[in-house]
């Protein structure tokens, strides 16, 4: 009697082995366990990762406004430097664009603007920081935040020598890209073997300059409320 009863009610172990749920229970249990672990990692690290991104941008801004040497001087000086992140509605007509930018104030005076802009490069998206003077008449610097151009060729857009060419260029007319020294004032020297990367950067700069030329005024600048 007892023997027969035992056969009718299978042990939990056997029941698990025989059903679909039993087959997949390990996958489900692991998925829940791993999901919880990943959520914990994300909760603990996401702020730090976001801060890394923000810090990289902020650390480059003084250089873009004043150049490396003067930026160091100002950093060690007594007057406070304020960097206010904000957005700007630029462009005209039916398709206005919103730009992310930073307003830089030194000793109570507007020292310049730094605009974050991106566009398609040869390989992937190129993200730039573009420095513009307070009068919006000239570029004060260029920095490549993110790029995945060809190593050894296109990634030379990050070299200080090449991006330094943009400094001091007038915002009044679009820049062109030329191979070799063309002598034209508005020409950017193309990197040998990476004309497309050179053009991509110049195109992004031109687009931003065209958009902000008329609308970079204090009244259209909207500071972002920083959450602490």
């Amino acid at each position: 009697m007892a023997h027969a009863l035992k056969q009718k009610i299978p042990s939990p172990g056997r029941w698990l082995r025989d059903t679909n749920l039993g087959q997949a229970w390990l996958v489900l249990a692991l998925a829940i366990l791993f999901g919880a672990a990943l959520a914990a990692v994300q909760v603990n690290l996401s702020r730090r990762i976001e801060a890394n991104r923000q810090n990289e941008t902020l650390s480059k801004i003084p250089e873009l406004v004043w150049g490396p040497a003067r930026a160091r001087e100002i950093k060690s000086g007594s007057a406070a430097v304020q960097i206010i992140p904000g957005t700007l509605q630029a462009g005209s007509g039916a398709n206005p664009i919103t730009l992310n930018l930073f307003k830089v104030i030194h000793a109570g005076q507007l020292a310049g603007w730094v605009i974050k802009a991106g566009g398609q490069g040869y390989a992937e998206k190129i993200d730039l920081l573009i420095g513009i003077d307070p009068q919006v008449s000239a570029l004060t610097g260029l920095f490549v935040l993110d790029q995945k151009e060809t190593p050894g060729l296109g990634n030379k857009i990050t070299a200080p020598g090449w991006r330094g060419q943009f400094k001091g260029r007038s915002t009044g007319r679009p820049l062109t890209v030329a191979a070799g020294l063309s002598g034209s004032e508005a020409a950017i020297d193309a990197i040998t073997g990476a004309t497309i990367s050179s053009r991509s950067v110049t195109r992004i700069v031109n687009r931003v300059m065209a958009a902000v030329k008329d609308s970079l005024e204090v009244d259209t600048f909207r500071p972002i409320e920083r959450r602490s």
């Binding site: 087959q23 390990l26 996958v27 791993f34 672990a37 990692v41 994300q42 690290l45 890394n52 991104r53």
Partner: protein
Amino acid sequence: MQVLPTPTERFIQGILPENPVYRQLLGLCPTLAVTGGLKPALTMAAAVGFVLLCANIITSLIRNLLKPHLRIVVFTLTIATFVTIVDRFLAAYLYQMSKALGPYIPLIIVNCIIICRCEVCASRQSVPAAAADALGQSLGFGLALAGIAAVRELLGTGMLAGYPVLPESWPDWVIMVLPPGAFLTFGLLLALVNWISADKQQGEGGGS
């Protein structure tokens, strides 16, 4: 029943006799892609090592619960979890390196070395053997990557791990840090490793 290698044997096999790159020709995507410099190569090797160790230990712990037809799903799930953890940690603590390695960290999920070790070793052997296997294979992978990266960085830029080594007059062989340089270096080193081991076997009085 087939006799499985001991933990010590597993560890030693991973370094050269069963080197993942030179012997098994596995995990070649990062081997070719991130060996332009010594630093990214070593970071990649460390990341793969961590994922392999964790995946092997977890797989070994649950090896008696694995269903044959569901084992690949379990391996992939485990590997993907640890890869995501590595990816987040790099972005948080080595931000520049994380940017430099780009998509190659998430791509560790499909690195055949790890799934191969889970299948061949960890799903059949105890935790010590699985851990020793992971350490040996990681070391073998790291040495392979470091070898290729050292050659490419030195000839391509005249530097090692970012420090100038060759004189200023060295004409940087840019091709070495470009994709063709990866294939050239890998092919030549692979031939060298095979030549040395073939030579050794002959010296011992007979090949296999």
